[in-house]
Symmetry: C2
Subunit: 151 residues, 2 copies
C-alpha cells in the first residue's frame, strides 16, 4: 500500500463519520511492516465525549495492537490537520511521521494556528501534506455547508 | 469543599499512581454544584497507552457524568502542569478554569514551554497556580530521584 491507499482508508472512515452525523474526519496508523495497526473516526457527538477525535481512537488502538505506548516507526494519516490535543497525543506517542490532507485554519496545530512540532517539546515529527487534499477538504466543506443550511 | 480540598483529592490520586509505579499525577474535575464529576490518575505504563494521562481520564469521566462533551461551568485541578495533549483536551472540552500545582519545564503547555490558552484557538481558560505546589512537586521529584537510582 502507498500513501494514497492509506489516506484513502482514512477518507472511508471520514465518510463513516459523516453518515453518523459527525464532522467527517478519519485516521489510520501504519506499523513498521506497512499494515494498519490503528484506525478511528470522529465520534464526539455519538459518544458525547470531548476526546472523541479520530486520531485519539487510532492511537489508542495502535498502542493496544503494538503492546506499548511508544509508536516509534509508525506513520499517521489523517484527513484533517490535527488540533492541539491530537498533535500533543502524536508527540506523547512518539509518532515520527504525520500525513494530513485538509488544513484547519481554526484549530490546526501543525502549521495553521501554530506548529506544535516546531516547539521545544523534545520531539519533532515530520509533517507531509496530502495526498487526497481536495477530496478530504470537499467532504468537510460540504458537511459544514449542509449544517449551516439546517440552522 | 475549597480549592485545597480539591487539589488534595488530586494529590491522593497522584499517590495512587505512585504506588502503581507510574509518574505521580492526579486530576479532578468539579461540576457546577461543587461535586467532583470526574477524576483520574496517570496509567500510561499499566495500560501501555500514550493517552493514559490523568487529565484525559478525568475529562472522559466528566463527559459521561454530565452527559455531554461541553464541560462549561466546571473547574479542573491537576497536580502537574498539563502537556500539549491535555491542555488541548481542556480547550476541546471548553473547561473555563484550570488549577495546577507543580510546573513542568519539559512538557508544560500552560506557561512553561508555551501557553496554549493564549494562542488563537478561540477559547481562553483562566489558569491558577496551586494550591499544594510544594507537596505535588516533591512527590514528582522524589519519584524521578528514585527512578534515576534504579537505572
Amino acid at each position: 500500500m502507498n500513501d494514497e491507499a492509506y489516506m484513502s482508508r482514512a477518507l472511508e472512515l471520514a465518510k463513516e463519520a459523516l453518515f453518523a452525523g459527525e464532522v467527517p474526519v478519519g485516521c489510520v496508523i501504519v506499523g513498521p511492516d506497512g499494515s494498519i495497526v490503528g484506525e478511528g473516526r470522529n465520534r464526539r457527538e455519538q459518544e458525547r465525549d470531548a476526546l472523541g477525535h479520530a486520531e485519539l481512537a487510532a492511537i489508542r488502538m495502535a498502542c493496544q495492537t503494538l503492546g506499548g505506548w511508544r509508536l516509534s516507526n509508525t506513520r499517521l494519516y489523517v484527513t484533517l490537520e490535527p488540533c492541539p490535543m491530537c498533535a500533543g497525543a502524536i508527540l506523547n506517542a512518539r509518532i515520527p511521521e504525520l500525513h494530513y490532507a485538509a488544513k484547519d485554519p481554526a484549530m490546526g496545530a501543525c502549521g495553521s494556528v501554530l506548529n506544535l512540532f516546531e516547539e521545544s517539546f523534545g520531539f519533532h515529527p515530520r509533517i507531509f501534506r496530502g495526498p487526497l487534499e481536495a477530496e478530504c477538504s470537499h467532504l468537510l466543506s460540504d458537511f459544514f455547508a449542509q449544517t449551516r443550511r439546517k440552522i
